[in-house]
Symmetry: C2
Subunit: 360 residues, 2 copies
Amino acid sequence: MSRAYNFCAGPATLPEAVLKQAREEMLDWRGSGMSVMEMSHRSDEFVEIAETAERDFRDLAGVSDDYAVLFMQGGASSQFATIPLNLLGEKAGADYVNTGIWSKKAIAEASRYGEVNVVASGADSNFTSIPDQSTWNTRADAAYLHYTPNETIGGVEFDFIPETGDVPLVADFSSSILSRPLDVSRFGLIYAGAQKNIGPSGLVVVVVRKDLLGKARDITPTMMNYQVIADNGSMYNTPATYSWYLAGLVFQWLKTQGGVEGMGQLNERKARKLYDFIDRCDFYANPIEARCRSWMNVPFTLADDALNGAFLKGADERGLLNLKGHRSVGGMRASIYNALPEAGVDALIDYMANFAEERG
Amino acid sequence: MSRAYNFCAGPATLPEAVLKQAREEMLDWRGSGMSVMEMSHRSDEFVEIAETAERDFRDLAGVSDDYAVLFMQGGASSQFATIPLNLLGEKAGADYVNTGIWSKKAIAEASRYGEVNVVASGADSNFTSIPDQSTWNTRADAAYLHYTPNETIGGVEFDFIPETGDVPLVADFSSSILSRPLDVSRFGLIYAGAQKNIGPSGLVVVVVRKDLLGKARDITPTMMNYQVIADNGSMYNTPATYSWYLAGLVFQWLKTQGGVEGMGQLNERKARKLYDFIDRCDFYANPIEARCRSWMNVPFTLADDALNGAFLKGADERGLLNLKGHRSVGGMRASIYNALPEAGVDALIDYMANFAEERG
């Protein structure tokens, strides 16, 4: 088929313009005689690519010089260990907010390295809401407080940034990085696996306040030591060069689209359209409290689960791909990241309306 | 320029046929409507890509079902910690052979987790030779013996596989994997960063005998636990999907080139030509003992270091790229991996001969 609308939660759709540029440059990057993936990471060419990507990311996300920006290998799952290994320092433990499956994974891994205090859990609402911060059981001596601003599977998103006083705030922005403006200065560390809003999988971008560096525990593998990675410009070893290059192309594309302000407006519009339709049409339902509905991942159910197969088959035939919900949740999920065009949301709504009319 | 001959040590040149196929499939993999990098790692399409790549690698390298093949994120540097964390078990330490810069890095990282016994060092020969195994100070109670079959920087390569009895043999094949036939059954574990003979950087292939799994220390980050990665088919988290796909394309290309037997013959011929020329021409020199000369990385010096700049400039003009030696060694280095065509070696020798005649 021609290019489909791909609603996959990750790895996810990328801007067509980025893929076209990557295709164009595949065998010969700007007269270098080489593909980017064949270049030494220490070559002038690649260093320019890498530095431009970091600069564009800093511009887009509004990251000051108080922070290091690291392009590390792996994804959020490896950061689940890297964070406590680097940030616990001499503290006994850290605070974590549990708002769903990714929070739980972060908590489980951190518990192996220190005492984790779960300050609040969305379990009371079956993870359909974000617990109000006035109810949180935070500790002033926590090494940091970790939360998951957007739960990719549950489709629940924070509508506020937690207040933590002197306790550094740490957040897994894997599925919402660069999707709208964010005040990075409120955070000690944010991180994001690349495969939703940044680029291909296998790369994770970490933004860490420089005063938090240098506290890694002795047992930390060198390749997980933020200080080492920062001191070496993310080139202590050979980085994931091609993924870094593609991330840079995505950042350049974002700048042509109005940056995070432009994305925020677009994403709000896309999400609003889809939720409004779901709320209007009795055949579909989304369980998340309105103020906490994710702009990135929209789970929904059909009035009759027995129709799920027919719904997915019809969607596939129309080039609306990967709408099946996560196995732990069931139903459907439309991931509508930055690179999923508004026309894709319109096409989805059209299809959903037709399906409901015919089969509902 | 058009495609150059790229002698970079890594990331390194890739087969042109592979890059062309990747270019062709960039926006739409076989009618799927998606790029491979946009596919869910759990989709039927990607699982087929991943399984085919593993099967082709097993065929090429001759890996039996007694071994797990893991496609992990990171590179050899992350394995330097992963190996002791997984294999030391209840043993106090491991044996390491020091034949150069990469050996030393592996030793330094392993020393953070256990007692490292350096059984032999190439330092006596200034790392121009491999110490004869009869001189090694091995221990019967070592958790494993680690060595570096090919030192990418020094250009020294083992001409034998060490005998270690019941002690598992562990080897960093980053720069020589799939370059010639290898009896994998002699090893407990072999690993290779992808960016020389396999694909793009950010991926590391680990082949581990299954009876060595399940001994990871408690402090091991989950993403570094071989058992977890093996149990989940290298998809415990989102793997580096696009790199895995490209590795698969390289494996398919290798099969069309006669596999590792074909590569072994080609690589021996390429290396022999270049070393023969260097030995014949007084203007150039390579310091490595003949039996231990690397087939993959050929360092050489000019009779007058003051001519290095002119040599590199002239090479660049002829599309012979990245011949500058590693900063710790100086001089020149030609990396002639599987994907560097014999015609590239011929062109290099021509240029070297002309340069020596004009400037020598």
